[in-house]
């Protein structure tokens, strides 16, 4: 005989303001099988939980229903309370009368009616709940970090320094990401490469880190603690074991005029190349689209020049299969396509450049050796106009968000320009100056006060060329009048956007993304580094626009989550898995095909003499994720889901 306890929570006024909890408690007390029905202001509080435990013990309850908030909030809390009171935790059900009732209804009577329906439905379900035991699964203590920018490096190093194995996958030929392209970094103006390259080298030499560059994640299967990952090693056409990085091949390569991706088109590279001089690993790749040999079968100059015979034109992509326990996604960002801004003349006027291009000009190792020179004629500009929010905070261009870093780097650009070109003049068109961060506001003030950056609050409507000058037409909203500035160079603070293949990649790993393609965290405030998929964590600008300090902090946070996961021998998983009725299974194997986790196998049923009678489906409890796809497919109704059995669901529906 069922003895169910019903506990109705006011949630302060959240529920009680709309639902008549006293009436609800009285009505539920009348329901068959209910032994206790009480209300309380906050059942999630300590005294609230104690009263639940006491009620379980005093009345020998066989199941409880907590009518309160969403099970996502406190299911774990009350399951724990059940366990402490000696009741199997899976005999606890939550009736959500807050999110699905009191918060969404205005009429008190109707909300109370609905709360009764919801609670009654869960009482009927819990009567049919079974005692379940958690499933234990082993953890593979090896982390996969995807992306070799600053976030990926930080996460990899933190995990590796704690003594765990890491595989770091970078799709470009070298580690470094965007940070390797930068000049000096705000707010301390330390040289980006000077702080970045030691990290890159440390990563490459770390005994716990296996570095896979020029590699991409091909597929991810499995689940937390037990992922199976396939990596495609793209063919470099250079043997990574033999190559010493001497660079002879690059010197000899006859194709020298390819615009360098790393220099944002401002510099040139060869067809066999490393992206930049400090590349890690310092092993070149052949760009088959530009290489003469791959175009018409002749040349092979690089192969001839290589003294150790490391160049192999026949090299093929290879695949590596890895067993992985946790994944850190640090795939970074791209800058928005400037073709969207016809009014600013990018692409039409060579001296209209992006912020990232300005970084390359200002870098000592860049194409101009650190001199700010105009791409058109190589002269030093006397007047530079910076346009902030080029794309960001502009719904008409599809980017409603703030790219977060542009205010700071534009101030930095103005400063660097002032330091490099004495007497040069800067004008910065801005919407707001957002300088929240340690030392950030001081930094922008310094740009204005010491380096005489002139800020004009307003948007730019048009850039055109006149008498060798770039004419920038905008509005000064503080003075309330239009302004036109004649400039030698215009720098666009282009919006940060997700990687172009971010959404497809999210589907490969199985994580959620937002409308733009930035990866979603499990909870913006409370679980900011976990993705929606257990065992997959996020770091850096793949989640949202971030500067270096934020990316590093998030990477370390992800690493600590990974390490916490690896601190256990075994993981406990919810026992919500499918089970098959072998007597009625028709063996059509539709479930085998339908299962997205490959959790269903064929099992032989034999008689005593070992003769095969029939084959039926068998659900591997370690692999099943309890999604229920097989249950819906099974025509003979042989498959059922523990914790959500057909009997339970039917009773729930009938309880309404």
């Amino acid at each position: 005989m069922a003895k169910i306890g019903v506990f109705i929570c006011h949630c302060g006024e959240n529920i009680a303001a709309k639902v008549d909890c006293t009436k609800l408690a009285a009505a539920m007390g009348e329901h068959p099988g209910v032994a206790v029905s009480v209300e309380y202001k906050y059942f999630c509080s300590d005294p609230g939980q104690e009263s639940v435990k006491k009620a379980i013990r005093d009345n020998n309850l066989t199941g409880i229903v907590i009518a309160a908030c969403s099970p996502r909030m406190h299911e774990a809390t009350f399951r724990k309370a059940c366990a402490e009171a000696g009741l199997n935790p899976y005999l606890c059900e939550i009736a959500n009368i807050r999110e699905q009732c009191s918060w969404v209804h205005t009429d008190s009577d109707m909300a109370t009616e609905k709360a009764m329906d919801i609670t009654r439905s869960m009482i009927e379900k819990v009567k049919r709940n079974n005692k379940l035991q958690p499933i234990e699964v082993p953890v593979t203590r090896r982390a996969l970090v995807i992306g070799g920018g600053i976030a990926g490096l930080q996460a990899a190093l933190d995990i590796a320094n704690a003594g765990q194995e890491v595989v770091l996958v970078e799709r470009e030929p070298s580690l470094g990401g965007h940070m390797a392209q930068l000049s000096e970094t705000f707010p301390t103006l330390d040289c980006s490469q000077c702080i970045m390259t030691p990290r890159m080298v440390e990563t490459a030499q770390h005994p716990n880190i296996r570095l896979l560059t020029y590699a991409e994640v091909e597929s991810v299967d499995g689940y937390i603690g037990n992922f199976k990952v396939r990596i495609r090693m793209k063919s470099r056409y250079v043997d990574t074991h033999k190559c010493t990085g001497c660079g002879d091949c690059m010197t000899k390569c006859p194709v020298k005029k390819i615009s360098s991706e790393f220099d944002c088109g401002l510099g040139k590279r060869t067809a066999i190349y490393t992206p930049f001089a400090q590349s890690v690993p310092n092993i070149p790749i052949i760009d088959t689209a530009s290489c003469i040999y791959f175009k018409n079968g002749k040349c092979k100059m690089c192969q001839k020049s290589c003294q150790i015979n490391a160049i192999d034109f026949e090299m093929q992509d290879e695949f590596i299969d890895l067993e992985i326990g946790a994944i850190v996604v640090a795939t970074g960002f791209q800058i928005q396509n400037t073709a969207m801004y016809g009014e600013y003349g990018y692409g039409k006027f060579p001296d209209v450049i992006t912020g990232l291009q300005f970084e390359r000009l200002a870098t000592a190792s860049g194409p101009t050796a650190g001199k700010i020179l105009r791409p058109s004629d190589g002269k030093e500009p006397e007047n530079v106009v910076f346009i902030q929010c080029a794309g960001s905070r502009d719904p008409s261009k599809g980017v409603r968000y703030c790219s977060k870093i542009c205010c700071m780097y534009t101030a930095k650009h103005a400063m660097l320009y002032a330091h490099k070109a004495h007497g040069g003049k800067t004008n910065i068109f801005y919407m707001d100056i957002r300088a929240a961060g340690k030392g950030y506001d001081e930094f922008t003030r310094r740009a204005i006060e010491e380096d005489e950056a002139s800020y004009i609050r307003g948007r730019v409507s048009k850039v055109w060329q006149e008498n060798g000058k770039l004419m920038v037409r905008g509005v000064d909203t503080l003075l309330g009048r239009p302004v036109t500035v004649a400039a030698d160079m215009v720098v666009l603070a282009t919006a940060m956007v997700p990687q172009p293949n971010a959404k497809e990649f999210a589907k490969i790993i199985g994580i959620a993304y937002d409308e733009y393609g930035f990866y979603n965290e499990a909870h913006l405030k409370l679980r900011p580094v976990e993705s929606s998929t257990a065992g997959v964590f996020l770091a850096g600008a793949c989640q949202s626009p971030k500067d270096i300090p934020d990316s590093v902090a998030q990477a370390s946070a992800s690493a600590s989550k990974v390490l916490a996961l690896f601190s256990k021998e075994k993981l406990e998983r919810e026992p919500v898995i499918a089970i098959n009725n072998e007597a009625t299974c028709a063996g059509c194997w539709g479930c085998v095909l339908a299962c997205p986790y490959n959790a269903i196998e064929k099992k032989d049923i034999c008689d005593r003499s070992g003769r095969l009678i029939k084959q039926v489906a068998y659900v591997n409890p370690g692999l099943c994720q309890g999604c229920g796809t097989c249950v819906t497919f099974c025509r003979s109704n042989s498959l059922d889901l523990a914790g959500f059995t057909e009997k339970q669901i039917f009773a729930e529906v009938m309880g309404l």
Binding site: A583, T584, C585, A586, G587, C588, W589, G590, C591, L593, A594, Q615, F633, R635, S636, N637, S638, E646, K647, F650, A651
Partner: protein
């Protein structure tokens, strides 16, 4: 007549050489235009074999009778093209091993019966592909067209009226070669998802559940329709379902013994227009 004689001889030969242990065919029924199944185990049995245009029952369901194929011996069977599609589905759903099946294919136009070339399922793949290609051009039954022209309420009323005669005898299920489950969901009463009483809800639940279970599997052999003692036009539901599956997923049931079930497989280029 010639076809029938030819097949009688072939069946006798195969039985004599022990290539098949049994052949499932047709024999005269209770009236001149009815045929009943014949299970030929000997040469004498073969003399009863009849093959004419009235042999319309899809016999493939007999192949999955418990234990028939478990000795791994071969069984012959007379099948029209839709019957061949049925056994393809049964093979795709692992209910039979195609190598055990010897097919005596036939088809008819008017009163004339002609044999189909081939003995193994794969011999008929070109024929089945042709049928798939031509299926959109085949003109629909006037009744189906008139139902499609109805609005939702009229359509509901139509089926409510038709289903009101349903007595839950499950003859449609027993006659259907696809209904091979050891326990049908309708016989599961813990919980009783499908209402068995003969009111509107129960009538719709049973017939709609059956239609869903046949989506992407029905070959429109008409066994259910002919089996129905109260003449519910069940074929129309399944025809409509087959059309939708063909349009939505380019899935033509029973094209090959390795075809994946439409509801358990997915293609990246599915149009997914039905997802809101």
């Amino acid at each position: 007549m010639i076809t029938q004689e030819k097949y009688r001889t072939t069946v006798k030969e195969l039985l004599a050489s022990d290539s098949v242990k049994m052949v499932i065919g047709y024999k005269p029924g209770s009236t001149p235009d009815r045929r009943r199944p014949l299970f030929i185990r000997s040469s004498d049995d073969a003399d009863q074999l009849v093959l004419d245009s009235t042999c319309i029952t899809n016999l493939s369901g007999y192949l999955v009778a418990e234990g028939l194929l478990s000795d791994e011996k071969r069984v012959g069977i007379f099948l029209r093209p839709e019957g061949i599609r049925s056994i393809n589905i049964l093979a795709a759903e692992y209910q039979l091993n195609m190598d055990q099946i010897v097919i005596f294919g036939f088809d008819s136009t008017g009163r004339e019966v002609r044999p189909l070339e081939g003995r193994h399922s794969k011999d008929f793949s070109a024929l089945l592909s042709d049928i798939k290609e031509n299926s959109p051009q085949i003109s629909k039954e006037p009744l189906l067209e008139s139902i499609e022209r109805m609005n939702e309420q009229e359509r509901f009323d139509f089926w409510q009226e038709e289903f009101s005669r349903c007595i839950k005898c499950y003859a449609c299920r027993q006659a259907c070669p696809m209904c091979y489950c050891r326990r049908c969901i309708v016989d599961s009463n813990q919980p009783q998802w499908v209402n068995t009483s003969s009111h509107t809800l129960g009538n719709f639940e049973w017939n709609v559940v059956r239609a869903f279970h046949l989506s992407g599997r029905c070959v429109q052999c008409g066994n259910c329709d002919r089996a129905c003692p109260v003449n519910i036009p069940l074929r129309l539901i399944n025809q409509r379902m087959a059309e939708m599956v063909l349009e939505g997923f380019d899935h033509f049931a029973g094209l090959s013994p390795t075809q994946e079930p439409v509801l358990a497989s997915f293609k990246k280029d599915d149009t997914e227009t039905f997802i809101l």
